[in-house]
Homo-oligomer: 205 residues x 4
Amino acid sequence: MQESAELQPTDQREEKRRRILRAAIDEFARKGYFSARMADVAKSAAVADGTLYLYFEGKEHLLVSVFDDVLSRAIDRARTEIAGVASPLERLRIVVRLHLETLAADRSLAHVIQIETRHSRRFMNLITRGRLGEYLELLRSLIAEGQEAGEIRRDVSPGFATNVVFGAVDEIVNSWLLADDPGDLTRFHAPLMDFLSAGMVEHRS
Amino acid sequence: MQESAELQPTDQREEKRRRILRAAIDEFARKGYFSARMADVAKSAAVADGTLYLYFEGKEHLLVSVFDDVLSRAIDRARTEIAGVASPLERLRIVVRLHLETLAADRSLAHVIQIETRHSRRFMNLITRGRLGEYLELLRSLIAEGQEAGEIRRDVSPGFATNVVFGAVDEIVNSWLLADDPGDLTRFHAPLMDFLSAGMVEHRS
Amino acid sequence: MQESAELQPTDQREEKRRRILRAAIDEFARKGYFSARMADVAKSAAVADGTLYLYFEGKEHLLVSVFDDVLSRAIDRARTEIAGVASPLERLRIVVRLHLETLAADRSLAHVIQIETRHSRRFMNLITRGRLGEYLELLRSLIAEGQEAGEIRRDVSPGFATNVVFGAVDEIVNSWLLADDPGDLTRFHAPLMDFLSAGMVEHRS
Amino acid sequence: MQESAELQPTDQREEKRRRILRAAIDEFARKGYFSARMADVAKSAAVADGTLYLYFEGKEHLLVSVFDDVLSRAIDRARTEIAGVASPLERLRIVVRLHLETLAADRSLAHVIQIETRHSRRFMNLITRGRLGEYLELLRSLIAEGQEAGEIRRDVSPGFATNVVFGAVDEIVNSWLLADDPGDLTRFHAPLMDFLSAGMVEHRS
DNA sequence: AATGAATGAGTATTCATTCAT
DNA sequence: CATGAATGAATACTCATTCAT
C-alpha cells in the first residue's frame, strides 16, 4: 500500500499550487487585483516571490487561473449532479443552485469572480473564450433541451435566454456581494428560478 | 438682449468640460481605464495635461463623472418620457428601452459603462451609492407601483425583481458589447421585456 | 541685444541635457554601466528620476548618447583643425593627437568610451554603425588620400591600415587607463605616430 | 598496467569541466555574457544547474576560466613552437600567427575573448593581471630580445611596442568579428606583420 | 557527486499629479 | 485660466545561487 515514489512530489506540487491560488483569492479580494502586490500573495502563501513564477506565468495568469480553476470544478460538479436528472428545467435549476452555493460558500472567491475578473474588455474576452464560455454553453444546451422537451417556450433563442438567466443570477450575486448585510445567498435560489420560469407578470386565475 | 458677460465664459467652460468627458470616454474605451493615460485624454481633448485638473479632481473622478453624467441624463430623460404614462409596466418598458437606446447609440460609452466602471469593489460601491443607486431606485419604484396596481405579481420583493430585471438588461448589453457581430442592441428590447414579463416556462394555453 | 524669448528655454533644456550626460559619464565610470543605477545618475545630475526619460529614451540610450556626443564633437573639431593642412599624413597626426587629447583630458569619459561602451556585440554593432563608423571613415579617407599623395605605401588597403592605426591608438589608451600610475596620455603621441610611420624594424641607415 | 582507479573519475571530471566550458563559450557568444543564463549553460552542457557550481565558483569565474583556459593553451603552444627559432622577430611572427589561428578556428570563442571579456574595468583588471598579463609579457620579452639582437629599433620601450602590436592584432580580430562577410582571419597575418615591421610610410628605395 | 526546486535581492520605467510661469 | 515640464512613488519579474534530497 506504499505511495508511489512519483506521486509524492506531484502531491506536494499540487498542494503548493493550491496554496498560492488560495492566497491570490484572499489578496485579490482584500485589496483588489491591481492594488494587491505579488509580494503580498507570496507572503500569504508562505513562499518566496520567485516561487509564484514557478507555478504561474505572472500576475494576470494567476487571476485567470483562479477563475478557470473554480469554473472547471463547478462545471464538473454540475455535470455530475445533473447526470441522473431527466427534466432539462430541473437540471437548469440544479446548475443555478450550484452556482449560488459555490459563491455563497466563499465570499472572497465571489468577489474575485464577480468583480476583479471583469476589469477590462481584454480580460473579459479572455475568460469568455475560456471556461466561462464553456459554462455559458452548458446553460445554453440545457435551455435548448428544455425547448425540445417542450418545457421551455420555443419563441426565444437559447442564447438570448441564457443571457437573461445568467444576467439575473450574476446580478443577484453582485447585489449580495455589495450589500451591507448580505445574509445567505442561496435563499434567492427558489424565487429566482420561480421568477424566471413563471415571469414577473401577474397571471390571471 | 446681450448675453450676460458671465454666461459666455460659463458656456465655454461647459463646452470644454464636455470635450474632456468625450475624450475620456473615447480613450477609456479604446485603451481601457488603466491603460489610458491622462496625457492621452488631454491630447484627445486638445487641452494641456494640467487643464484636466481644473475640471476634474483626478483620473478616478473623471471616470465617475462619465458615469454620473450619462446616468443623470438618462434618468432625466426617463422621468420625462414616462411622465404621461399611466401603466407602471409600460413605464418600465420605456425605461428599459431608453437604457438600451442610450448604449446602442454610443458603443464607446457602453464599453466604459459596462466594463471600465466595474473594476473594483470600491468603485462599484461608489457608483452604486451614487447615480446608479438612483437609477435602480427608479426601477424599484416602478416595480412597486406595478405591484400596487396589480400588474406585477406581489410575491417577490421589488428589490429582488429589480436585480433580476437590471441583471438581464445588463447582461444583454454585455453580450452585445463582446459580440463579434453585434448588430442593433435595441432589437432585444421586445423579447427581453416579453421574456421577463411572461416568464420562460411554456404556458399551457 | 536682448535674448530671444525662445532661446532661453532651449538653452535651459540643453544645459540640463548636458548635466545629465555629465552625470552619466561620472556614474558609469565610477560604478560601471551595469552597476550604476538610473537613480544614481539622476541624483548626480540633481534631477528627478523621471526627468531622465524626458531627455533620453532609457539607460542604453544614455550610454549611446555619451558616445555619440563625444564623437560628434571630436569629429567636428578634427575637421576644423585639419582644414588648412595639406599633408594627409600630417592631418592623420592631428586627428590622432585630438583623439588622445580628448580622452587625456577626461579620464571618466575615457573609461566609458573604452570599456563600458564595448560590453556586447549588439552594442558594438550599434556604435560601429553610428558615429564610430563615421570616425573610422575619416581615418580611412585620410589614409587613402595619403596613398594618393604618395605619402603612404600603397600596398595595403586603407581599411586594413585604419584598423592597425585605430587598434594601436585604442590599446595605448586602454593601457593608460588600466595603469596604476598612468601619467599623461598625450606623451605617447609622438612615439606612436613615429612607430606607425616608420615601422618597428631597425632600419639600416 | 591497469588505469589507476583514481584517474578514471578524474578524467570524467575533466571531461565534464570541458563540456561546461564549451557550453559557456557557445552561450556567451550566442546571447552575450549578461543575457546568457546559467540555466542555459547547464542545459547546453547537459548537466543540472547546481552542477555548474561544483566545477566553477560562479558565472564570473566561468567567464574568467574560458579566458584563462584559452590563453594558457595558447601560451603553451606558443612557447613550444618558438622553442627552436632563433630570431626574436620571427618568434613574434609565430606568436601572432598562433593568436590569429586560434581565434580564426573558433568564432564563438573569438567573440567571447574579444567582447564579453571586456565589459568592465574590474573584469579587465582581473584578466590583465592574470593570463593576459602573462601573454603580454611574452610579447614584451620577444620585443626586448629583438632590440637586444638588433632586429628591432631601440628607441621605443618594449612595453609601448607591445601595446601597439597587441592593439593592432586585437583590432584586426575585432574588425573581422564584426564584419558581415569576414572571410579567413589568417589572411591578415602577413600584411599585418609587414605593416608593423616596415611602417606605413612610403620608403624611398 | 548530482540534482533542480526554491529562494529573494535588486531596478528600470511609467504616469498621475503639481505648480511655477 | 491655461500650460506642460518636472516630479518621485511604486512594483512585477528575473535569475544567480543554494541546499535538501
